[in-house]
């Protein structure tokens, strides 16, 4: 069964979602970015540069691994893992960082600004800036700097300047605010290298396209091996970039079910979660109309999750659209369930997942159990857990790491 899917529309909307809700100062920049991207996309030279770096520098393609032990444990559908954890810098974030940095160079911009929560996107951006000799400045919430000290050091080692953000809740959402303010003031020579499928058009489209290498490879690898498509794909959702990268090449294959997994934190019945699609309502933040955690007066609420990479009160506009259209389904996994899956995957498969990815694994185990033994599902293992072992150790020993 095939359907047509051509979003975003010309004005950058996915149904009611998306758009360009930015101060006028940035309109010229986002319009220039859009035309530069459309040209680059059609330019074989640019595509070759991008593909070459993905292959030689990032180490693509990444394996599609059949997790036999995990499959036995779950007792249902076959579970495959798309190993984005094996990428250079340890997560999918580098796919997008490389694409956008090449775009910045093409646009003649030698300075790059980025936001980061866990530090994964910051590290990926700093890495690519080192490679391409770009000046790099990363905004990071004061709270996250404390939680992810090692990643701060990594970024500095790579030559980036990390700026502590103390405004608001001093986490990812405030780092985005500060990066946007910086971009407003330095828009002439600076590219904003946004880390997920959020922000004003064309960012959600650009990030999706650069990340869709995940789903494209998965689709080909799975077809090559099984001569059919998987029945379901599963990915965790922070802003939604690894999920969009996995989903997009499958959107037209209507028989493939798409599952996004949000962070339920301490539980979606408590105020301490990051389940924007499950518990939020549509609103406007950081340039886009999307599902948002907000109070009754439209003030944005803080998100909470054991994984800093899912700790964001919004979710990309395309996911907002896919939810309302019913094409994708969204569920949530608590801190505790993610921690259990983190340990389980380590013990069963010898793979320590990022805490973000552990959310997808936890949900996949439940889903597999409900599916038929002959069916197949693929989990996007978005990153490796090296960055999290310290926090998990503290937590398992009874300490409190997050709040």
């Amino acid at each position: 069964m095939k359907s047509t899917y051509t979003l975003p529309d010309e004005t950058g909307h996915f149904g009611i979602f998306g758009g360009r809700f930015v101060p006028e100062t940035l309109m010229k920049a986002v319009m220039e970015l859009e035309s530069a991207y459309r040209e680059a996309k059609a330019d074989p030279e640019f595509q070759k540069q991008f593909q070459d770096l993905l292959k030689e520098y990032v180490g693509r393609e990444t394996p599609l691994y059949y997790a036999e032990n995990l499959t036995k444990y779950a007792g249902g559908a076959h579970i495959y893992l798309k190993r984005e954890d094996l990428n250079h810098t340890g997560a999918h974030k580098i796919n997008n960082a490389i694409g956008q940095a090449l775009l910045a160079v093409r646009m003649g911009k030698r300075k790059v600004v980025a936001e980061t929560g866990a530090g994964q996107h910051g590290v990926a951006t700093a890495t690519v800036c080192a490679l391409l000799n770009l000046e790099c400045i990363v905004f990071m919430g004061e709270e996250d700097i404390k939680r992810q000290a090692l990643n701060v050091f990594r970024m500095e080692l790579l030559g980036a300047k990390v700026v502590s953000v103390t405004s608001g809740s001093a986490t990812l959402k405030d780092a985005v605010n500060e990066a946007l303010r910086y971009w407003v003031a330095n828009v002439d020579d600076t590219h904003y290298l946004l880390g997920s499928v959020m922000g004003p058009h064309p960012f959600p489209m650009i990030v999706r396209d650069f990340q869709s290498v995940i789903g494209k490879e998965t689709r080909e690898q799975f077809l090559g091996r099984n001569e059919k498509l998987p029945d379901a794909v599963v990915a965790c959702i922070g802003g939604g970039s690894n999920a969009m990268g996995m989903f997009y090449p499958f959107i037209k294959d209507e028989q493939v079910r798409l599952y996004g997994v949000e962070a339920a934190g301490q539980g979606i019945q408590t105020p301490f979660h990051a389940a924007s699609l499950t518990k939020g309502k549509p609103g406007v933040l950081h340039g886009a109309l999307m599902y948002l955690l907000q109070d009754e007066d439209g003030q944005i609420q803080e998100a909470h999750s054991i994984s800093a990479g899912l700790d964001y009160p919004g979710v990309g506009p395309e996911h907002s659209y896919l939810k309302d259209s019913g094409r994708a389904q969204y569920h949530s996994i608590t801190d505790q369930e993610a921690l259990d899956a983190f340990q389980l995957l380590s013990k069963l498969e010898g793979i320590i997942p990022a805490l973000e990815s552990a959310h997808a694994v936890a949900f996949a185990i439940k889903l597999a159990a409900e599916m038929e033994p002959g069916q197949n599902l693929v989990v996007c293992l978005s990153g490796r857990g090296d960055k999290d072992v310290d926090a998990v150790k503290t937590r398992l020993q009874g300490g409190v790491t997050n709040e």
Binding site: F21, E24, T25, N177, V284
Partner: protein, 261 residues
Amino acid sequence: MNRITQAFRRLTETNGKAFIPYIMAGDGGLSCLVERLQLLERLDATAVEVGVPFSDPVADGPTIQQAGIRALKDGTSLNDILVELTKAKANLHIPIILMTYLNPIYSYGINRFVEAAQTAGIDGCIIPDLPIEEEEIIAPQLAEAGIELIRLVTPTTPIKRVEEISNRGNGFLYTVTVKGITGARGEFDGGLSTFLSSVKQVSPIPVVAGFGISNNEQIAEMTKYCDGVVVGSKIVDLLSKNRLEELEDFMSAYKKSSANI
């Protein structure tokens, strides 16, 4: 006729320039909002921009961010502000322009907001995260209610676009003087006078400069090229420190110099 347009008509007749202070509603408690509006009316402000506090004000610098945080801590909501303005409507004659990010209005409900704003006697709206590409979401309803949508242009706006934007509105064209966020500045870019002049040349509506303006020298310089100024962070700062005499001196000095232009 909308009170903003009337105010600019009067200025034209007297060769005066507009002075539009910005205040943050709820900073210092919502109970002093009307008092402050009346003070500014007495000091002969042309209109007042009333800021609605928002958790994530991306276009604002530290002074207005902090004022917003104080207002939110005090529990100020859009609804409270509208209620307060509605109550005081009969005692306020100065044009009121609500400055709010889109989400508080979106969450309130666009139609419900426009109706309540009309009831509250609001004359105009500035929505800094709503470029013309997205304004269909609220512009028709505002126009229907006789509330001016005040649009912004900036030094990065190409002149053809300035022309397009200025042709959409009636009240005035808010001309952002810097590439950057709000907040007092010591100096402005050398090209500012050229920029203001070129905006003035294409705009069929009054051109008002704003962002970063904090003293009378700057105002005198800018109003050579445009029809008035918005002063934000400076006013917010003086009010929050309760330096009312300084505020009066600032505004009366301006009035004197404006009368002499």
